[in-house]
Symmetry: C2
Subunit: 327 residues, 2 copies
């Protein structure tokens, strides 16, 4: 074999090997073949193919994901609320007045229903009391320690094991195709950031969420940021496109949610020019996860389901479209 032939042979081998790798590995192994999977793959191929009329430069490939109910489970209640409940128990000795004060009194007696009877106001009181008065670093440490051992009340799995395997694959698939993936959650931004990088591969600067006000102050000559008990921003419904504009400043081309709280984010995404992917995860799998939509108190999906049908958005049936739910 002469030198030229040797080089040509080597080159062909390398190319063949590369092609084999890219064809062999299914990027979405937990997704059944079906309309939902196909709509994702079609979209990604369209926006990444140079010369395609729908081609989008990598810098503009922004994909935004709701978290609760979209990337991990949210039943029987948002996991951050479980955190807040646990914190109430830890903090109770410092708050003797909680014994006679709702919603804390019921919570400390183990009466969840009683504690939640006060509705959103009661929840906000619990979150306010447990998420403030700390520096950002103290809070991060507490969340980090809690999430390392917290278990789901029904499945007894670690909460970080309650993420959806098909969505982890989708995040990786998008990133492998040059997308920048963001979380846009109604949950707390400081809470989510503690584990988003480890669990989802999403760095803190790509997490958008609800937030409380912060105060800069000097303690013993060292600057700290103190979490105040005042709401700064609620990243839900109308807040989601606003949070996206504030943090990203660029309209997503793909958005993923599971509830009416995500509807405005999907509308905002859909309204841009060119190819768009708007996707709802529909909780249809009572056997492997939970089944709920129009009547649910948590993750209600009603208007969104109608609008998805009208607009032709992708609706993923967990029961039919996913081979596996949890890793």
């Amino acid at each position: 074999m002469n030198n030229q032939n040797l080089l040509a042979t080597a080159l062909v081998s390398v190319l063949a090997f590369t092609a084999a790798i890219s064809h062999a590995a299914d990027p979405l192994p937990s997704w059944n073949n079906g309309k939902a999977r196909q709509s994702i793959v079609d979209f990604v191929e369209k926006v990444t193919k140079p010369g395609s009329p729908d081609f989008v430069p990598a810098a503009e490939r922004i994909a935004t994901f709701d978290n609760d109910g979209t990337l991990w489970a949210e039943q029987p209640m948002y996991f951050q609320i479980l955190f807040a409940f646990d914190r109430v128990k830890v903090l109770a000795p410092q708050h003797p007045e909680w014994k006679d004060k709702e919603p804390f009194a019921s919570l400390l007696k183990g009466d969840l229903k009683g504690a939640l009877a006060g509705g959103e106001k009661a929840l906000m009181e619990i979150v306010g009391a447990t998420h403030s008065g700390l520096t950002t670093e103290e809070f991060e440490k507490i969340v980090r320690e809690w999430i390392a051992t917290a278990k789901h009340p029904a499945t007894k799995k670690p909460l970080t094991g309650m993420v959806y395997q098909p969505m982890l694959e989708l995040l990786s698939y998008l990133r492998a195709n040059g997308f920048k993936t963001f979380i846009v959650t109604g949950g707390g931004i400081e809470f989510m950031r503690v584990f988003a990088e480890q669990v989802y591969g999403i760095p803190p600067e790509q997490v958008i969420g609800s937030s409380g006000k912060l105060k800069f102050e000097m303690r013993d000559g060292k600057p700290v940021l103190v979490k105040l008990p005042a709401i700064d921003f609620i990243d839900d419904k109308d807040g989601k496109p606003i949070g996206i504009q504030t943090h990203i400043g660029r309209r997503p081309i793909a958005a993923f949610g599971n509830s009416d709280g995500d509807l405005q984010m999907l509308q905002w995404t859909a309204a841009g020019p060119g190819a768009r992917l708007c996707l709802y995860v529909h909780h249809t799998d009572a056997a492997r996860e939970f089944a709920y939509d129009r009547e649910s108190h948590i993750g209600k999906l009603d208007k969104g389901l109608d609008e998805a049908a009208t607009k032709g958005w992708t609706v993923v049936s967990m029961k039919d479209d996913w081979k596996t739910v949890f890793p």
Copy 2:
């Protein structure tokens, strides 16, 4: 030459060529050799060298830059104020009442001093009137058109030509070393984002700034975000570390400013563990740019200069440390 030798020779050539490229190109050609330049290079080598006790993983290499006076000029006044003044003239026909109302009346007569006599309150009124009532897309289009032709009142150069060449090199040098570069400006986030990518190579999601409140609404079935005349966040002084925490959620390891408005950002950066680079650009060059510090109304650098001396932060003298100021 046998096959093995051929491959070895090719490999050696490639390696030699790569080494030649990386050694030949000075990443900071507009910086004079001196303490300032050396402190930058030492820091970058320290945090990027695997095995070094100061090594920082790429994901944590966050560098934050003030804009006005740090990346581009800010004299005789912030360029965004020039934009607001131009907008007042454009909008005047729709606001006949401005003829008798300060600060607009003075401004429309060309009396800048009179217009600015009302201090910060007058400025806020002008910014409020010119930066709201539009959708985010309308505002972006107006800024884009304005910045394409706006000239500096003294030098008559395009405003985007009033950026500092040494700082452009510094941004590129940091990015080439795995840093993620952010702008943290007291100026408007929506204003800056329009040209930050083109001028500085910084995408919109890496621009943090002051902001007004936004409102999501449907217009003819299409969602828009409307800029309201209410302040949401002032990204200056204490606001800078707060803006960094809200948008990045990770403490920078390097921060660059030029005024007391950047002091808290530098303090926050310096207070983290491991190697840190805190740098002030000191305006010492009346011939090539402007000379001002402790007594200036714009970009006052007083406490910061003292703290830089005490803490051993890097202070760049534009006159002595920069070979070139503008591109």
